[in-house]
Symmetry: C2
Subunit: 189 residues, 2 copies
Amino acid sequence: MTDSTSPSGKRERLVSSAAALFHHQGVQRTTLAEVATDANVPLGNVYYYFRTKDDLVAAVIGSMEGQFRAMLRDCERKATPAARLKALAYAWVEMRELLVNYGCPVGTLNSELGKNVEGSGRQAAGILRLLLDWAEDQFRRISKKEASDHAVSLIGGLQGAALLTNALRDPNIMTTQVRRLDRWIDSLP
Amino acid sequence: MTDSTSPSGKRERLVSSAAALFHHQGVQRTTLAEVATDANVPLGNVYYYFRTKDDLVAAVIGSMEGQFRAMLRDCERKATPAARLKALAYAWVEMRELLVNYGCPVGTLNSELGKNVEGSGRQAAGILRLLLDWAEDQFRRISKKEASDHAVSLIGGLQGAALLTNALRDPNIMTTQVRRLDRWIDSLP
DNA sequence: GTCTATAAGATGATAGAC
DNA sequence: GTCTATCATCTTATAGAC
């Protein structure tokens, strides 16, 4: 968002702590006092870096978007579109223990903010759009037909599997479902 | 949970109002004062029917589970297992305008409570388990193989599509994805 | 830039009259 | 069973010293 380099690194620590706490507890359940404590920053000082809690939420979403952009760049190092799509899917398998306890960072954030929150809700949706657009681009290289719907099926499949993984506290759900998505990608004409 | 028939119907009104508000705003963002106002019950009186907010949450989940049991019974009136599974999926298409604004009632509830809340979190997961077990049973009548994984793919597919429908504010996502699930069910051996 | 102290309001929950 | 009044606490945010 704005310039994020502060000499003391407090801003970065606040964003990092907030990201973890928002993921572990949800945005609404997390207080600024908790974030401050976790980041080793005095409570009152939080407001020097973020004028409101919403500003902090926005910074966390921005940081998360950067991480997903990096993840996509990593996937792009694979040789074929199919391999790139699979690499993306297996990233969720690697997160499976985290998913069991707290759900998908993007999914739960969108679920919480998608209800009414117009400001940060739209911003969180941007990360899903980023993933969808990237996947659509890869699918289009496999076949022009239905690339957009394929992308929605893949990202939706990952999100649904992550939700069940979390609700049922079973990491194998993510593994099994990604394996099925893998085979589905291979089966495309 | 406990006996739910109160002469004045206040208990029912409280559960009904809470269910809607929890879905529209999330559990954490909804105050007991809002629930009381919406149900036309004085705030202090809420505590006669539910000793804590968690008790109210439990009652809402219980009521929701009853509604899903009824939905499954409805689906069972179809002649074939495939038709029953499709009927379940199309229930999400019929909810699509609600999904656009607030997400799936079961999905968002599990997303919010799945983070740490051990009490009601487990209870909310029970509804997903109910859907999964029912779907698995239907899939098994089509083919013994992979019935459990098929069920996870179907319910997960619905949940993922609902999440994207909500995040992207696009009801067509639900429609298109269920149509794909429909064709997938037809393609099973 | 950094921190302490505290205001201002919301929220879950209770006491006790009726 | 029902309701009013209120407590105790938490939480966001600000004022102002250093």
